[in-house]
């Protein structure tokens, strides 16, 4: 879909923080100088075209349990099978193929640290491949999006 100036403003202004107040869309509307109905219909359209993956809360995993980034080096010819096994394991919520010896990168979550370790041990045993465990030690910029350079986009 083609985005117009107002769509881009909506994303620029609200990709980091949306007002959490009695009438959030009304507040956004008055900031943008459009009607509340228009804010709602634009958000719905952007969401239905998947330009916005969601309009809502982003939860902090560490507050709701444990999680870590993990990687495995799957033999290239077994990559699909290994990826499918990882996706089926309990607690996996992201899995990206990347161009590297460590070619599968996933996030494993669990209610607590002990369960997380158990899930990783079990998956490691099942895959017969060592899992590189990369918990966050320190966060310097945690998933707040970035400034979108609209002119550079196709």
């Amino acid at each position: 879909m083609r985005l117009d100036t107002v769509d881009k403003q909506l994303i620029n202004h609200y990709q980091r923080n949306l007002p959490v107040c009695e009438r959030p869309y009304q507040e956004m509307a008055s900031n943008l100088g459009i009607s509340e109905d228009e804010v709602i219909s634009r958000l719905a359209t952007l969401q239905s075209h998947q330009v916005l993956s969601r309009v809502g809360p982003v939860f902090e995993h560490s507050q709701a349990g444990a999680s870590l980034l993990a990687a495995v080096a799957a033999p290239p010819e077994q990559m699909d099978m290994v990826a499918a096994r990882i996706n089926k394991a309990p607690g996996v919520n992201h899995n990206y193929a990347r161009e590297h010896t460590y070619n599968l990168w996933f996030v494993m979550t669990a209610p607590d640290e002990d369960t997380l370790d158990e899930r990783l041990d079990e998956l490691e045993h099942h895959l017969k491949l060592p899992i590189l465990r990369l918990p966050m030690v320190e966060g310097y910029h945690i998933d707040l999006g970035f400034d979108i350079d609209w002119d550079a986009l196709p």
Binding site: E60, L132, L134
Partner: protein, 174 residues
């Protein structure tokens, strides 16, 4: 899946909080009165829904509330996980400076696993081309200077699974 409160820094979640998380994890209702709409679903008053929601924001359970763009859909087809081997004495300061760059979307320190993995700083950058990602990586490299002993870029070739935090009712868990 249950929510653990065993770690002292974790916020205590009430059953209502859990229901509210489940009702909003795929997004807020796009209606004029979203809290009233959620209240009808959950059997709560609109003002109580809003208050619990704000409480979870204050305690850090909710990291942010946002219109979350899908960068791939927007045209950022190249997602490069840039990884750096930064000296332990410099990493806290350098990590913060890399995280402050306007084009870095995530920046974390993670452990090394020698000899297999020597990179301890991860910075995610997005671009419309490999050249753009490489140009941004070069800016990070210039910033790190002598504190960095090695680096590489891991481009994503496929997204095999992507979902946000998902809570399920306890009884659904085998």
């Amino acid at each position: 899946m249950s929510i653990s409160t065993s770690k002292s820094e974790q916020a205590k979640l009430t059953e209502q909080d859990r229901e509210l998380i489940m009702a909003t994890q795929e997004g807020l209702p796009l209606v004029s009165d979203p809290w009233g709409e959620l209240g009808r679903q959950l059997g709560m008053r609109a003002e109580d829904v809003l208050a619990r929601f704000q409480q979870m924001q204050n305690s850090g359970v909710i990291r942010r509330v946002a219109a979350v763009p899908d960068h791939y859909k927007l045209g950022y087809r190249y997602n490069g996980m840039t990884v750096w081997d930064v000296s332990d004495s410099a990493i806290s300061e350098m990590g913060q400076r890399v995280g402050d760059l306007p084009f870095v979307s995530h920046c974390y320190r993670r452990p090394r696993h020698l000899p297999y993995w020597s990179f301890n700083l991860f910075a995610m950058v997005h671009g419309t081309s490999r050249e753009e990602v490489e140009d941004k990586a070069r800016q990070i490299k210039d910033l790190l200077g002598d504190s960095c002993a090695g680096n590489t870029i891991l481009y994503s070739s496929a997204i095999l699974k992507k979902t946000g935090l998902r809570l399920r009712k306890q009884k659904d868990t085998p």
